[in-house]
């Protein structure tokens, strides 16, 4: 694998860039693997990567029914933060955030992690109390956050109208090392690294069945033939329910649409990520100059990857009020993704009733930021049978009432 560097580019420039090899090998399925991961999105690829890197398990296939990174990994608004309230959430998201810090170097692929800071606005007394509480919790969780004043908010985001008539800004929860990353690059970088470890990434390969013997998983049937495996990891946001049913169990999940949009690109005017949960909208500016905007999810089960326009209206309304200068910018493109939402709005990383079969799903609207932490923990869960990062996110919490409820502090959890 050619190492990426400015030098390599200069060298290639002299020979018309004819020397670059494939970022990841084209692969056809072998008969058998130690581990099969279903879903070549960020979470699935990260899981494979850490199986290899942390546990030396490299006889791994990652199956993707479409193109890798083509699900929510390539549809989200790329926000990365770990200022969660509950211990289990803070642990896995902070693990992810810290891995993002060095991901470009670890993968030798520039994922453009940009720790520009993430700000969650407090616009009601109730939110002020909620975010102060989060700051206290974070201080014990090893997550660096602070509650900042409206004056500081305005300094950090000059384009914000902090004394809007309806919801003046009363302060904000500020995580200076939160930020964004280039979402596609995360999937591509992991794919390249996995491929370099000898793993097979098999695209256009849809799983049509899960095979088991004596209550233990034995492999999967796919559109490219049967593939045997000792362990199976399901990491298919948007399709988890369907896949789980193939394996003979059901999960507490509903799939709904989440929409986002971007404006036309303009010169840099906002250096941080702002989330305004009272009015349900969040915005950041991409390195390309587009204002990247999102809001809440649609309310009904929907697999179309199309949302309802009135949600776009509500989100834009909220942001025009918060950032009046965007009123004359234009919406360039809107799109939708399918998000899996669980009973307590927190993810599931768990063993399943089928021995040897593990599931990672239910990230709702917040999956991108978790990718490395999720991969790290899920790999450990699959390799060792448990992981401190994932233990609290097991399926059985729903029958014991052990919920992990973040709505306490966060309205929209992106």
């Amino acid at each position: 694998m050619t190492r990426y560097s400015a030098f390599a580019i200069a060298r290639e420039a002299l020979r018309d860039h004819a020397g670059w090899d494939r970022a990841w090998r084209r692969a056809t399925p072998k008969k058998r693997y130690d581990v099969v991961i279903v879903g070549a999105g960020g979470h699935g690829l990260a899981t494979a990567y850490y199986l290899g890197k942390n546990f030396g398990i490299t006889n791994v296939a990652v199956l993707e029914k479409g193109w890798l990174g083509g699900g929510n990994t390539g549809r989200n608004t790329t926000i990365i933060r770990s200022n969660y309230l509950q211990d289990p959430s803070a642990a896995i998201y902070e693990k992810a955030r810290s891995l993002y810090e060095t991901m470009s170097q670890d993968l030798n692929y520039n994922v453009m992690f940009s720790p520009r800071g993430v700000m969650m606005l407090a616009q009601t007394e109730h939110e002020v109390r909620g975010y102060k509480r989060t700051a206290h919790a974070n201080s014990l969780q090893g997550v660096t956050t602070e509650f900042i004043s409206p004056k500081r908010v305005k300094q950090l985001v000059p384009i914000m109208n902090i004394d809007g008539p309806r919801y003046p800004v009363l302060g904000a929860l500020w995580q200076a090392r939160g930020g964004t990353a280039r979402h596609d690059a995360v999937a591509w970088g992991y794919a390249r690294a996995c491929s370099a470890m000898g793993m097979d990434i098999i695209q256009k390969c849809e799983v049509t069945g899960v095979m088991s013997e004596g209550g233990r998983v034995s492999g999967v049937a796919t559109t490219q033939g049967d593939i045997a495996c000792d362990k199976l990891g399901m990491v298919v946001a948007g399709h988890s329910g369907a896949l789980a049913e193939m394996a003979g169990f059901r999960i507490p999940i509903e799939s709904v649409a989440l929409q986002a949009l971007v404006s036309e690109p303009i010169k840099p005017c906002m250096d941080v990520v702002v989330m305004a949960n009272t009015v349900h909208g969040y915005m950041s500016q991409s390195d390309k100059g587009e204002m990247v905007i999102g809001g809440g999810t649609d309310a009904f089960n929907n697999y179309t990857q199309r949302g309802s326009f009135h949600h776009i209206e509500e989100t834009v309304r909220a942001l025009v009020e918060t950032f009046p200068m965007i009123s004359r910018l234009k919406m360039l493109r809107q799109w939708g993704g399918i998000v899996d939402v669980t009973g307590d709005r927190s993810p599931i990383l768990s063993r399943t009733p089928l021995e040897g079969c593990f599931i990672n799903c239910g990230w709702g609207t917040g999956g991108f930021k978790a990718i490395p932490g999720s991969g790290w923990g899920f790999a450990e869960l699959m390799a060792r049978g448990h992981s401190p990062l994932t233990d609290a996110f097991s399926l059985d919490r729903f029958r014991e009432g052990r919920f992990i409820d973040e709505s306490v502090a966060a309205g929209v959890a992106h």
Partner: protein, 109 residues
């Protein structure tokens, strides 16, 4: 942007006049129910790629709850009916069968 006909007041209501209420025909389990039944009642949901029975309230309208049979892949609506029933009425099932031959629904098919 969905439209659903409210079976009570006859309005072809658009989504912004409605409130989505999740899966329909759940059986309530109370005290003394088993852990399984109670977990199923509260959390386990049909999440089909296809025919889905769901609850809606005509909240910006007559205020009544009703049920809809809808396809989650195409958003086609097979019919709406009053909420005072524990399972889909026959005419709705027939309407679905006419358009999705061989469809099944776990609890009642």
């Amino acid at each position: 942007m969905l439209t659903l006909k409210c079976p009570y007041c006859g309005v072809q209501a658009e989504e912004t006049e409605l409130h989505a209420g999740g899966e329909a025909h759940l059986t309530r389990f109370g005290p003394d129910s088993s852990d399984d039944d109670f977990e199923t009642y509260l959390f386990t949901r049909e999440n089909p790629k296809g025919v889905h029975f769901e609850r809606w309230r005509h909240s910006h309208g007559c205020g009544k709850w009703f049920h809809a049979a809808r396809c989650t892949m195409t958003l086609e609506v097979f019919g709406t009916y009053p909420a005072q029933t524990t399972e889909p009425p026959q005419d709705i099932r027939d309407a679905i069968t006419a358009k999705r031959p061989g469809w099944t629904w776990r609890e009642f098919s």
